[in-house]
């Protein structure tokens, strides 16, 4: 015993520091979750690339033997994707940047401009983030109907904006509040107006947050289903999720094409993520102030 003990200490000195068991457990949990999450993605990708015959013949997780690209063109044509895709693009491309811009400006005003009812206004925004939209669906429908906005782009974009802005304001307000006060004061002394301070100082240093919010908002707008279902009755105004739903109802046995349709729906969100994730660099404010 006594002879072995020192040798083990010796070994311990040679080897890398012992791993924290907590970290190992964390890793195991993460890998498990990743697998659970990846499985359906792989399933969709594989199935989308298989012909119907192959789908029936092989197991779900075997890679496709022969790549059936025509699933995509078939689904595109049969599912009226041209229209739904166009509608989704128009709505998302207008709503996401516009909403983010409104939110950022509101958050800046609440965080940096002394307003008489600033706190109350912020509370009001938070309240907006807390109301589930399902509750509001019927009144919104009535309201939009009254304005004749059902089955129009503004008719979806406006409610999307209204429900997207509060939580973005909430997050951006927290971020802007944490920007050192001296930074905006220095800019004010340098002769900048609030617009300049916002555009030249706050927007650049909050790029990581803005990118994160943009991705989240893009995905949720792109995939939004329930509100669109109520507000868009006309097939020609449908967005992708609605189109996909109807496609599934009509052609649910054509697994290849169905999964190709799903893949096409998801793809833009992945693309946007890839484009904007490079802005996720941390420490953009480092060096601004000491300590």
């Amino acid at each position: 015993m006594t002879a072995i003990a020192p040798r083990r200490e010796d070994d311990a000195l040679q080897l890398k520091p012992r791993r924290d068991p907590f970290l190992i457990i964390l890793w195991i949990i993460l890998v498990t979750f990743a697998l659970v999450w990846i499985a359906p993605v792989v399933l969709i990708a594989f199935t989308a690339l298989k012909s119907n015959a192959e789908v029936m013949a092989t197991s779900a997780f075997t890679p496709p033997q022969e790549i059936a690209w025509n699933n995509f063109s078939g689904a595109w044509a049969r599912g009226n994707f041209e229209t739904t895709f166009k509608n989704s693009v128009i709505i998302t491309v207008i709503k996401v940047p516009l909403g983010l811009m409104f939110s950022a400006m509101a958050a800046y005003a609440l965080a940096r401009i002394r307003l008489r009812f600033g706190k109350l206004l912020l509370l009001f925004f938070l309240f907006g983030a807390m109301i589930p939209f399902q509750v509001m669906l019927a009144p919104i429908f009535t309201l939009l109907n009254g304005f004749g906005l059902i089955d129009t782009y503004p008719g979806v974009i406006l409610p999307y904006l209204a429900f997207g802005v509060p939580y973005q304001v909430f997050i951006l307000h927290g971020f802007f509040k944490a920007v050192p006060k001296e930074l905006s004061e220095a800019a004010l002394i340098d002769g900048a107006s609030h617009v300049t301070v916002f555009r030249r100082i706050f927007l650049p240093i909050s790029l990581p947050v803005l990118a994160a919010l943009l991705i989240l908002d893009f995905v949720s707008t792109w995939n939004e289903f329930a509100m669109a279902l109520v507000l868009l009755q006309d097939r020609h105004m449908w967005t992708l999720p609605l189109g996909l739903m109807s496609f599934q109802g009509q052609f649910s046995t054509d697994y290849g094409q169905l999964n190709a349709a799903i893949a096409m729906t998801v793809f833009p969100a992945v693309l946007v993520y890839m484009i904007f994730q490079r802005y996720f660099v941390s420490g953009l404010t480092s060096g601004a102030v000491k300590g």
């Binding site: 340098d190 240093i205 060096g287």
Partner: protein
């Protein structure tokens, strides 16, 4: 370059008044330093001059123009913040040129001005770097560069050196002073470091609790402090205060010890007085003087600080030679300084 007049300036945060009627006339090209303990309202006063804080009452004139309601940018001032407040996403050159860019100056002209300023401050090799890639001293210099490119009427500094280490602070102190001589501009400088105030200022304003205690040149304040607060605030180590009665040519301390005085107050004073003596104004020996007990001996290398107890009053004295007293040892103190200060113990103001 401009004069700055602060007249009966007041500032309240809610019910709390933090600046209570301050009046200062700052001359054109003067280097004025505001000192005072933490929380006395120095930053608030400076920020009011800058226009970052509303004025509750009173008036501020810059260059003969009332600026009470003007925004910071209309006052033509530049400010250097304690934590520098550099724009993190911009390079050093962009940081310095930002104000000129906003003012709509041409690119070539901005480059020229930035080059001039960076030449003065030795920032040339750093112009392409971001603030996060600079050391504390370099950031400090960029913050000053950002101020000087604009040719402002008045420079405002809020404890610009307090984040630097001791050596760099001494160096930057000299640089700021040289800069002032070179630019000849009006500077209002806030610090709580009395050494900074003594070495750099043309005039010093001592603040306490939102009120001006005294305004004057460093030596005026050092030699003729108006009250015990100013006397104790300037000079290091700070002045010793001995309380007692004057009897003939000496001071009778509470413990019964006597200290011979070099001079007497102008006005006849029967009751208790407080005598202020700088630590350098004592001699410590074993022969004659008031009996005292050594408490601590601190050699600093150049001289030695001796803390002792004279009849219940603790005093600090600085002696030039290396003394070797042990704590608890009994020694004799006498006053060698020609100048002592007399204060009224009730209102703490100067007598005679």
């Amino acid at each position: 370059m401009a004069t700055v007049q602060v007249s009966d300036l007041r500032k309240s945060f809610g019910a709390l008044e933090v600046v209570k009627g301050v009046s200062i006339d700052i001359r054109d090209g003067e280097f004025l330093i505001l000192v005072g303990p933490s929380g006395c309202g120095k930053s608030t006063l400076l920020r009011m001059i800058a226009g970052l804080e509303d004025i509750s009452a009173g008036r501020i004139d810059i260059g003969g123009r009332v600026v009470n309601t003007l925004s910071p940018k209309e006052r033509n001032i530049a400010m250097v913040f304690q934590n520098y407040a550099l724009y993190p996403q911009m390079t050093v050159a962009q940081n310095m040129g930002f104000s000129l860019e906003i003012a709509g100056m041409k690119k070539a002209e901005i480059d020229k001005k930035v080059a001039e300023a960076s030449e003065i401050l030795g920032l040339n090799p750093l112009l392409k770097r971001k603030p996060s890639q600079l050391s504390g001293g370099q950031r400090q210099r960029v913050a000053m560069g950002r101020a000087i490119v604009r040719d402002p009427d008045v420079f405002l500094f809020d404890e610009p050196l307090s984040n630097l280490d001791a050596k760099l602070r001494v160096q930057m102190r000299a640089e700021i002073k040289a800069l002032h001589q070179r630019l000849g501009s009006t500077i209002v400088y806030v610090t709580h470091d009395q050494v900074e105030a003594m070495t750099m200022a043309d005039r010093i304003v001592v603040l306490r609790g939102g009120c001006v205690e005294q305004i004057g040149t460093p030596l005026e304040l050092y030699d003729h402090p108006e009250n015990m607060f100013v006397a104790g605030f300037l000079g290091s180590p700070s002045m010793n205060f001995l309380r007692g009665k004057i009897e003939g040519q000496s001071l009778l301390l509470a413990g019964g010890e006597r200290l011979a005085l070099p001079s007497l107050p102008m006005a006849e004073h029967g009751g208790d007085v407080v005598v202020g003596v700088r630590p350098q104004g004592f001699s410590v020996g074993t022969q004659d003087g008031a009996r005292a007990t050594i408490k601590v001996v601190e050699p600093t290398g150049a001289d030695t600080h001796v803390l002792a107890d004279i009849g219940g009053t603790e005093i600090t004295c600085v002696v030039n030679d290396r003394v070797d007293f042990a704590p608890g040892e009994e020694v004799r103190f006498s006053i060698t300084s020609k100048q002592v200060h007399y204060f009224d113990p009730t209102n703490e103001s100067r007598i005679g």
